[in-house]
Symmetry: D2
Subunit: 425 residues, 4 copies
């Protein structure tokens, strides 16, 4: 194979591109937790497509089903016409995921991306309640189209809108201001006081663990209380489980251990299992007040995704998979805790839940340097948080222990090298 | 194969679903211009995934390349990391499409759907100009997320937003009010008068032929004048070529025969060639003022789409394909003109350009009945327009003449049957 | 009297001040149609406080009543407590104005300025209909607070908002684009088409003659048709009669000759008769759905204004006053028509109705120069229109013929001088 | 005098009227701290026109000057033309108020009401900074036009807008959530965190003591810290001194004891001294970036107000007046503290600063009942707070001690009667 001229991207692709700056090579092949570039260099992937590749790359079982489907000229694109494949996905998702969790949701195909799902959720909440405002939380990330961006915290991304963002009120996430102060006292004060200037919203939208916002994991009792407040004020609760869902935190839905049943759930990223664009919006049947076609999208019937997503559900047929993710989550947590103690120079704080974890570094630019050093040694890892202050471990949830430990070693080695450098001294 | 129980959709899928109501069967396989349902019934497809399947279903050449790519564990999902496949697409798109047309555009991957592309275009226009308003046109359709919906005309879809839609001004499309009155005199009067209440916008966004809005084809001189006005007032011109592009009207870009070079172009739908989610935004290099990551999206690097989209470009290596589309466009136009003359009961008006054509019926619900009757006879065809008053012919642009004529026969037969019914008498 | 040092204004008053730039002297006394400055120079006032002094300055009858009221320690400020004076005004306004015109309106005191009245009207229309948008017209002027500014056309004033102005759609006023084209065909097309992008509004707000917008007088049949359209679509019609009302066009309400009864009427400016801040909002009793205090304002009970406004109503006890205004309106129109014919160099167009009249000059800056020259000769006259292209005759409506003619002479002399200057040659 | 038929208001005035419901009689005369109704009943006024009558009714010195001015046909209405009277006011305001306090402000006449001033302040802050958002505070009240309403907390008044209110973020006022928690930690956390979802605003707008919001007095150190935060983030600080200013809290400007110099100050209500509509906006000279006429208003040149406002400034020629207000403020505070201790049934909390004081009652509707009972005994007093839970003492600031004590007696008697009633038992 002749190597790709990197100038192609420089010359023809917009400067808006970003990850290719952190991982400056041309990738060409991938399998499981590994990626290879054109020079044949191998990488361990602790990035997992920002949460879109929870099952690793090109899972063999899904791959076989997808190839077979394509070979047989199965429908590729169907909008919301009925197809065999779509029915199979719907049925299996109910059988394997919803029913065993005692969840009763209608399913909507809002278009194949996370922001499509969020936009549909906001529309539905506004239609059901007749109210306009949405309460979102500090450092929440929900997407880049104007509706989703309005409930997203990041200042740089918000500024990109070019128009004032409206109809949203931002409230403090768990532990936002002070550790010993419950941010929900604050929120509830605003709701109960008729002079607060905060109108009763249609919905609250929350991530149980904030991925882009800095791997902030809300305490389960905080989530439970959010749910209580929503019920008390007749506000709909939307859980955006796009990044934290599909097993990332140890259960299929990230909200399960909190014992809550959100009114609306947004799913995308790893839902197709194979990295193929796919999203659904789930909601209580009583909320299904849409008119036909009131929300739609050209790629809402992506049958390749139906095929792989259906195959991916096999992982969830019993609780073995969950247990294994949780076990590996503990490994990660233990590793990070030790690392943090061993290297006080990080001024670090271990964050996250399950396989959604990281260390927030108290030194400017340090997290980015850790990720950079790790990349040099063959590990792909991204940063997050408003100042990119967190290095973020997102291994495939079906990764084997050996690879996981190899990743740990690279990270530790990166940290070890950095603490000797002038930056920390 | 056991047949799918249609109750699955009734029971578990949201009532928001729509096309499955017009085409009430379960589809399972498709090839070229044909689809089959679970009963083995064959259909001619004059719908083409609402313009997402211009090359027909499961094109053999693209299919082979896609299967090979999957078999070899090519990267599936890459965000905006550099991949071999992405570079190939970018290079070939420049070589085959842009350069021969003397177009110089930067390319951005805004997420894989049309509305992602439109939202990125609006953001960019606002950032470049520092202005907030966008001028859109009556019966324009640009997508269902809040930014795109703000520039979309359809009242039912707008209402679904649940919030007032802002920062957009709607102006009359070509021939909107009176045939003998140029709607652009009106538009320009608003721009030149400092008391008009219409602020100078960041951009105008226009479809050269409105697909959802009723197959309204703007005259080429009208498009030319829009371009002139934009230049005069330093307003950016965005052509939304999501439905009319990729050959649908006879040239790759629908604006080519008008002799204009828009500042920004939105592409999606048939761009991947295979019905796989994919979108790009093109713009003049001088407009590339994005910060890295200022707009992004999880599925902006859908490599399956890069593979098929690159393969699809082979159709455009010389001008034979264009000539053939144009020839078939003429066949369609001739057929519709004759049909309309033969059946004055339609109170019809032939509309469209190239293979984006239809008849607007002057009798309530008639277009829907034509489509319904056609479906009974094995033809899939949708309606459009604010009152679904247009039946819309969207055959694959590589359809063979025989199939095309067979479709014509079914349509004529449908009309023939209907004009005898009480509805028209 | 020692003369005022003009530096006081330069030094301490904001640069936002404007009229003191056109009329650069310090005024100190006024009576009827006359004003005097500190140098004792006398001016004829064809400006009338931008329509707030229709009865001239310091009308003797009103003055006596006001002084007596103050001497007796009548209530000055009462919010919306009941006062004797307020009751007298309400009763007399009903007896003298509303009943004889067969109008049945509830009255609201929204605060003492025009923009308070407009803001209350927009709120009420939105509350009654549950809709958000307001249709306003090109070159309409309704006030400077954000709600009123949203329905105001002037680009410079709109820009001053510093935020995008929302929830309003601007439509062409009578004769806006082409003389032979009815702008209401255009408006109605937008309403009847479900794909137009213009949502059915809560209300339309219109001035029968646009004062700030350039003395554009809508034809009575145009106003009648607006009224018809509003009724057909269940849209509320708001007439902003703040500048054109209180006799300025020849009848108390400017809409009387059109034979319409608006749903809501905004009144201010000359309503107090004495130049004292005062405003009311009138509406059909069925629309009185306010909650107590839902709209309010500290100065809504300005009893000095109640006193003078009640006294001013004596002018309207029979139809003599109206006839006299109309006679003088004809004099003005005749004068302007002759002037315009005599001086084709003006490239002028006579505009207006009643004593709200002017000439739009086709030469840049000419209208301002006419006003400037007139000021030098002792006539106060302002300009209007988006480019200040109109010189605007706004004499007191009770001015005597002699003064009126003297004003004419000064204007003609100003024009005569200017046409000899290089500007027009 | 024949008595006014109360039916006039029922029949002709909108149901939006409010104070006439609390004080159901027809007032006809007033002087100093006294009002009389048509039955000749005398009332002590502890309401003072909601803060518009700080000097009592019809102050004798101002009255004489006003009558003389009217008798001599002084200009009444001048827009922003220069007048002798206006110059006198500007000069004296600088000499008596600004210079001795070492304040250097430009003055703008934004229209004669508080909301005009607030709207002008918001526009200016947005223009100067190029930003759109304004931070306001819980239970803030700034006016009823859309711009001012957007920064007002009261839910009922906000709902009256009929459109979503935009471009404002509400933050907790001093002591809003918890007594021992500084609400500014919270605010600053939002500003410093680039992921908070709160964009850096153009300005913060704050009342030092919230009148409508429930007589909440911010601690001086809290105000000082607000000022520090604004400076640190280059945010403009707007003090809305419309109700708390002109001596109400003991100094001319309410912010003086905090030792801060706001960037912009809004003044109205008692500024004219006589209850006549009048408002000004003050700002640092560097902020004077207006274009001529960019904000205006018909009644911005209310010369009657210039006359009385100038006369009122005589109260401030030395510090005697301030000391006397402060002494009376202490009397009020002592009275309320004793009352509250004596009647624990009130579950009361004493609030306020200077002569802006009240008791927040912990029993529903109790404050309204106290005010009602007081009215029966000849005292006019209003309630405030989101649930009208505060009875509010607003005597004239030049009231004599005897009248003040007489008012105290009536209040105590009202409370004494109520605590025996079933409501509190």
């Amino acid at each position: 194979m002749s190597h790709t001229d990197m100038e192609i991207f420089e010359k023809y692709e917009s400067v808006v591109r970003s990850y290719c700056r952190s991982f400056p090579t041309v990738f060409t092949k991938s399998k499981g937790h590994k990626m290879w570039d054109e020079q044949g260099r191998e990488y361990i992937d602790f990035f997992s497509g920002a949460g879109a590749l929870n099952y690793g790359h090109n899972d063999e079982k899904m791959k076989k089903k997808l190839i077979k489907y394509i070979e047989e000229d199965g429908i590729t694109h169907s909008l919301d016409k009925a197809t065999t494949t779509k029915a199979e996905f719907i049925q299996k998702f109910n059988d394997v995921i919803l029913k065993p969790r005692d969840l009763n949701y209608k399913m909507m195909f809002p278009g194949p991306t996370g922001t499509n799902s969020v936009e549909s959720a906001l529309k539905l909440a506004r239609k059901v309640t007749g109210r306009t405002d949405i309460i979102s939380f500090t450092n929440g990330f929900h997407g880049m189209t104007i509706g989703s961006l309005s409930v997203t915290g990041n200042a740089a991304k918000r500024k990109g809108a070019g128009v004032p963002l409206q109809n949203a009120v931002t409230m403090p996430y768990d532990n936002y201001v002070l550790d010993n102060y419950d941010s929900l006292d604050y929120l509830e004060r605003f709701l109960e006081d008729g002079g607060s200037g905060v109108d009763i919203p249609a919905a609250m939208i929350v991530e149980t663990v904030q991925g882009e916002g800095g791997i902030n994991a809300a305490r389960l009792e905080w989530l439970k209380r959010i749910d209580d407040i929503c019920k008390r004020w007749d506000i709909l609760l939307i859980v955006d489980d796009i990044q934290a869902g599909v097993g990332r935190t140890g259960t299929f839905f990230s909200f399960e251990p909190a014992g809550i049943k959100p009114d609306i759930v947004c799913m995308s990223k790893s839902l197709s299992g194979y990295g193929i664009p796919f999203a659904i919006t789930l909601f209580r049947p009583e909320l299904d007040v849409w008119n036909p076609g009131e929300h739609n999208g050209t790629f809402r019937g992506n049958n390749h995704a139906f095929v792989t997503a259906t195959a991916a559900l096999d992982y969830w047929k019993d609780d073995q998979f969950e247990k294994d993710i949780q076990r590996k989550g503990n490994m990660v947590h233990e590793f990070l805790t030790n690392l943090n103690q061993k290297y006080p120079e990080l001024k670090g704080e271990v964050r996250g839940r399950g396989l959604m974890a990281g260390i927030a570094c108290g030194v400017d630019d340090l997290a980015s340097k850790v990720a950079e050093k790790a990349f040099d040694q063959g590990l792909i890892m991204e940063t997050s948080g408003p100042k990119d202050e967190v290095f973020k471990l997102f291994p495939a949830i079906n990764i084997d222990d050996e690879a996981l430990k190899k990743g740990f070693d690279i990270i530790e080695e990166s940290v070890r090298k950095l603490v000797k450098e002038p930056i920390l001294n």
